[in-house]
């Protein structure tokens, strides 16, 4: 076997050297929180399927301090996902032409964030209506 040991530059922490990549890693990592939250909901759905006692156990578990801390972290991370999703959206959408002019990135991002705010308020209002 060859005794050559060519120098290979380590890739560890490559993204820490550039603020653009730091932001990239942060917004990519929000997927972990989205997945964790979806698994919490999946467990809730399974417990709902097992009957009232199981469901109440899940509701009780959601009241634990650990769960609340986790959900605060989910809230921050997923809210950041919302923000970054709409900041990136102008780059992922095909050009939108309105009145012969291309819709600018700020309008797309702003429109997306506004849609998220409206969706959140509508969801709260709907849940309130169903719950009363």
């Amino acid at each position: 076997m060859s005794k050559r040991r060519p120098y290979v530059r380590s890739m560890d922490g490559w993204w820490k050297k550039n603020p653009f990549f730091v932001e990239y890693m942060i917004h990519e990592s929000t997927a972990l929180f989205v997945a964790a939250y979806a698994f919490v909901l999946l467990v809730g759905l399974i417990r709902l399927g097992q009957g009232e006692a199981a469901w109440n156990g899940w509701l009780e578990a959601m009241k634990s301090p650990l769960s609340l801390v986790f959900h605060l972290a989910f809230l921050v991370a997923i809210a950041y996902h919302t923000y970054s999703w709409f900041v990136i959206m102008p780059k992922t959408l095909p050009p939108i032409i309105v009145g012969g002019k291309r819709v600018g990135p700020a309008a797309i991002t702003g429109g997306g964030l506004l849609a998220a705010v409206v969706a959140s308020i509508a969801m709260l209002a709907l849940v309130w209506r169903i719950a009363l």
Binding site: K63, M123, L124
Partner: protein, 122 residues
């Protein structure tokens, strides 16, 4: 004549990623707030918002069922796709195992949630 080009399956996974990313961007924060903070702490929403009869009725309603299914399945397809493609950045060269863990768990969760939701009846 057979075409030499193999059709890529990327658009399917990318569509699931896009749909899940959009759904979680629009509704993720408010859902976390409702299920994980407001209801457990008894904030803002009426008492018993997520009581067993209410949640059962929601999961038996056609729209409610569809919403629960879309949230769980699409959130996970979105996350699976993003995590799978980010492994490279942290020095893990994605292979079959990584693919199975990421997309496989999303697939399993999709089947389980469909099974439970159908079992709850209409």
């Amino acid at each position: 004549m057979k075409s030499g080009l193999k059709r890529s399956n990327a658009p399917i996974f990318w569509s699931l990623f896009g749909a899940g990313g959009m759904l979680s961007a629009l509704f993720g924060p408010v859902l976390v707030f409702i299920t994980g903070i407001a209801v457990p702490l008894g904030l803002l929403l009426p008492a018993g918002t997520m009581s067993y009869p209410k949640m059962l009725a929601f999961a038996q309603n056609f729209i409610g069922k569809g919403f629960i299914f879309a949230v769980i399945a699409l959130f996970l397809w979105f996350a699976a796709h993003r995590i799978y493609h980010s492994l490279h950045e942290i020095g893990i060269h994605p292979g079959l195992l990584a693919k199975l863990l990421c997309y496989g768990s999303a697939f399993a969760a999709t089947l389980i949630s469909a099974y439970v939701l159908l079992g709850l009846g209409f």
